[in-house]
Subunit: 234 residues, 2 copies
């Protein structure tokens, strides 16, 4: 890792392996940032997400891809880390109304905190996260007011902030619809065949087609008028 | 873990194994909270801190003690996780002037984020952290304005916050001197012989007596007029 180069124009990008983070990565590159991608092995049910993240990072030739182990399963409280069944077949209205059981307590706060630490140790001020408030599936930590509050806290938390160089949290998708994100990603060369969205794939790794994440993905491709490369189990 | 009992009056306490967190734990118990202690194995040089945390948690018969593995060493940027020599023999004025190399980027933000996640999954709203702005050894994330900003961010980050029950971050030591903390801890039955402060103990586990943390500890006991049970190498 070349610290001087990093200081020129580099960004840390949180990369989950889904449509949103892949598009965010492409947008950071398009804006001229050298990308340091960061992913987490956090007791998810499936390694498919991380495999997708690796493929995307490789395909965009990022400067570095750091995968950190953090044991959210020990903390519990979510269908994505516990053995709670993932709900299927919910309508968009249902999703908008309530915070789903797939919500992981404080997940984005934990991810952004690690990104903040890594960015500061590299001398980087720009952090990118692919959160999205419109098709956001009901998570509180995907809203603009949350991102703004994190940024304010971060400015007080770090040496860089105290020394006049606070972290900027970029959430370029925050006001985009899923179809807008897909169109944007496609225009920037994201291979959506590499991305993974499903909360509950079958043993062959096929997306279930029924969980919130699959339903949002299908609708997004339909509305974008772009073919969805995903193979669904149903 | 009994979720109902936890909802009555429970708190998550960040427990490093030092004087400050041990005293904070005793203060939370004294205020009537049932304590869920949380510690981290984060690539520190020494297991002595965690051993101290375990002894303290046991001696106060906490409800639970969760030790999470997080690999800050992969992130780097600090003498506490890297192979940078720890400075010795600095004056108080030196310590106050600059952020030392023992600063771990965004460490308290990472710790508080995990505490926020655990608290929410247990239905707990009260989080305790033993940061201290007076004898704070120059860390930006030990200041009252940082704690206030974290609390604001947390209220927007979580389901509990959205549903009108935001987390409260208690930092009861924040305006206390080290000697006041030692007197308070002693009055609440903290066995300081169990606590560990040194950044750089020798192979026999003896505190170095020279690092910032040892110097602050020695001065604190001296000013408190309480004997320091620590065995120093020098």
């Amino acid at each position: 890792m070349n610290k001087k180069a990093a200081e020129e124009k580099s960004g840390v990008v949180l990369l989950s392996g889904g449509i949103d983070s892949a598009t965010t990565l492409a947008m950071a590159l398009d804006a001229g940032f050298q990308v340091h991608a960061m992913s987490f092995r956090y007791g998810q049910r499936h390694a498919r997400e991380l495999e997708a993240a690796r493929k995307i990072a490789r395909s965009f030739e990022v400067m570095a891809h750091l995968i950190l182990d953090i044991d959210l399963a020990q903390i519990g409280g979510s269908a994505l880390t516990d053995d709670i069944p993932v709900p299927g077949g919910r309508s968009s209205a249902d999703m908008a109304r309530s915070i789903p059981v797939t919500y992981v307590p404080a997940r984005n706060t934990i991810f952004l905190s690690f990104a903040l630490a890594w960015a500061e140790s590299l001398g980087i001020s720009d952090i990118f996260i692919g959160v999205n408030a419109l098709d956001y599936s009901g998570y509180p930590d995907c809203r603009p007011e949350y991102i703004a509050a994190f940024e304010k806290m971060a400015a007080l938390a770090t040496r860089a902030g105290v020394e006049g160089n606070p972290a900027r949290i970029h959430a370029p998708l925050i006001r985009m619809t899923k179809s807008e994100i897909i169109r944007k990603g496609a225009s920037l060369g994201v291979d959506f065949g590499m991305t993974h969205s499903c909360y509950d794939p079958d043993t062959a790794g096929r997306a279930c087609g029924r969980c919130d994440s699959c339903l949002i993905r299908k609708k997004g491709f339909r509305e974008a008028g772009i073919p969805d490369p995903t193979i669904y189990a149903e």
